[in-house]
């Protein structure tokens, strides 16, 4: 049995890993550029550290006391650790991953620290109108619990105890654009259970609906008040209140680009057809009918994941996308323009050179967050302007997406 399983495993691995998609010809160049950024960042950090040590020693020489230390006195011993606060980071909330391996937490833009109970780690966070959603896992060893396997989705609101919405293995969640609903799915559950999808209202945490889903389903995102999920072959849109649902049908393969604000009948999706990948507007409530002319590209030239639609539904951003004459770059696409293939690039814009998108995170003002060796930047696809933003806790933090007003 074991030998058969091992042979089966080898066959599956060989089957899945072959063939490798066409490699970018300039991968070495890209890695060398990236390594240059890392070196410069390290040099800058080392320079700052040296300057800090020099200043500290200078102060110590003059005053006889090191900064941050107070002259010892009778009250110091009892004072204990002081709470840390961080100034606002231009309205950006951040997931902080301490370099020393400490527990991760969310730092709100106002300096508030959201830290799970029971020694858990935050894996993913989202700002909703009345607080934060946090997906957490237990990072240590405990009987019957594998690290990072059992996850918990909880709602944290100021002045209230955390509310646990769901707990299971390998949870994924998606927040509606208005921040009033969250869909939670367990596509892989323990043997004997059925994979499930539940929807909760926010902020009261009331369960609006529950249903079984096929094992291994993907959570595509929200379209208005419908949650879309499914597989490579079939997508389903489900309204947890009315229990209405529509299905895309097996004749074509569609992929969501993430949550859309409104169901305006033209939700942008990727359609795979033969050797092409097309961007097309879809009306999910009409059995995923196509409502715009598809704009198609060679599948090998274009990737669409991860991708995201801006909160106002105007911009589509793809992290990595290759088009003839445009190289490999994150791109934004103006969805308010005709999706028809009237020219090679239509409404596509390259992001500024040298900037990277470490995930599709939008601020409340429809600004896309980018990163380069100098830090974080808010990018406005409308006028292509850039504005520096500071994240709470700096380099050990990454932005948390925001939903609703």
């Amino acid at each position: 049995m074991t030998r058969e399983l091992e042979r089966g495993l080898r066959a599956v691995f060989e089957d899945r890993a072959d063939p490798v998609p066409a490699q970018e010809p300039d991968i070495a160049d890209r890695v060398l550029v990236r390594a240059g950024h890392v070196r410069r960042r390290r040099a800058a950090t080392a320079g700052l550290a040296t300057a800090f040590v020099v200043i500290v020693l200078a102060i110590a020489t003059v005053t006889g006391v090191l900064p941050g230390m107070r002259p010892s006195g009778p009250t110091d011993e009892a004072a204990g650790p002081q709470p840390t606060t961080t100034p606002s980071g231009n309205g950006i909330d951040a997931l902080v991953l301490p370099k020393d391996g400490g527990r991760s937490f969310i730092r709100a833009a106002d300096g508030t620290k959201i830290e799970p109970e029971d020694g858990r780690y935050v894996q993913q966070g989202a700002r909703v109108p009345d607080g934060f959603l946090a997906l957490t896992y237990f990072g240590g060893q405990r009987d019957g619990e594998t690290p990072a396997s059992t996850q918990r989705l909880s709602l944290y609101m100021p002045g209230r105890s955390p509310v646990t919405l769901a707990e299971d293995n390998n949870l994924v969640f998606s927040v509606s654009a208005d921040g009033k609903r969250v869909a939670v799915m367990a596509p892989f559950v323990t043997p004997g259970q059925k994979p499930w999808l539940r929807v909760y209202s926010l902020p009261n945490g009331e369960q609006l609906g529950e249903r079984a889903v096929p094992e291994g389903s993907d959570l595509g995102g929200w379209v208005g008040e419908d949650i879309v999920f499914g597989s490579k072959r079939v997508l389903q849109a489900w309204n947890p209140v009315s229990n209405a649902e529509t299905t895309s049908g097996p004749d074509r393969q569609l992929q969501m680009f993430g949550t859309s604000k409104e169901d305006f009948g033209q939700t942008p999706m990727a359609k795979f057809a033969g050797d092409q990948m097309c961007i097309v507007g879809i009306d999910v409530r009409s059995s995923f009918k196509e409502t715009t002319t598809p704009r198609c590209y060679a599948k090998t030239d274009m990737r669409v994941s991860p991708a995201s639609v801006s909160p106002d539904g105007r911009w589509l951003v793809c992290v990595t996308l290759t088009l003839p004459g445009m190289g490999v770059a994150p791109l934004t696409i103006d969805l308010s323009r005709d999706l028809s293939p009237t020219d090679d690039h239509g409404s596509m814009l390259s992001l500024p050179p040298g900037y990277e998108m470490a995930g599709a995170v939008w601020t409340r003002d429809n600004l896309l967050l980018l990163v380069n060796s100098d830090g974080w930047w808010a990018y406005d696809p409308g006028d292509q302007s850039l504005e520096r933003v500071s994240l709470p806790d700096g380099p050990v933090a990454t932005p948390v997406p925001r939903y609703g007003s």
């Binding site: 049995m1 089957d15 899945r16 490699q23 070196r39 894996q123 959570l219 995102g221 490579k232 991860p306």
Partner: protein, 181 residues
Amino acid sequence: MDSKEKIEADFRDFVTARSAALHRAAYLLTGNWATAEDLVQTALTKTYLAWKRIGDIGSVEAYARRVLYTTNVSWWRRMWRNEHPTEILPEHLGNDHTDEHVERDLMWRFVRKLPPKQRAVLVLRFYEDMSESETARVLGIAAGTVKSQCSRALSNLRTYLAEAGIEMAALDTPGRRRTAT
């Protein structure tokens, strides 16, 4: 050719020769090609930055592989992205309706359910054909841990397969060979 140019030239040669193999391993670890590409680039960046320390060109690939596997585990734990991307390209849809493919597809899903360390052990042992001690060296863990992780992973797979009513023989079609890299 000065030292920096030589390192760059050696690095380019290494990337040309081995990036496809690294991409394959990265795909088996991550489950989609876009993330695999990010993972490979991160591993190559770290490898290039450590090039002088690694010293011997013969040790470069082992170093790159170790970075690939350990980075994947740390990424998985630090996953923060706001949306979980769905898979991108339907790589093997030609035979989707055959039983064989459906069963392999299921097996692949079961592999993806495993915790990252168990998956890494399986890929190193049964895709890279490494011994337990070689696997332990790449992952930086004890050989005994490799053995226990492997055993636990196979046991989990057996349970999943039994529940799905899949027989081993269906997965192991004779005559399949790995493409040389």
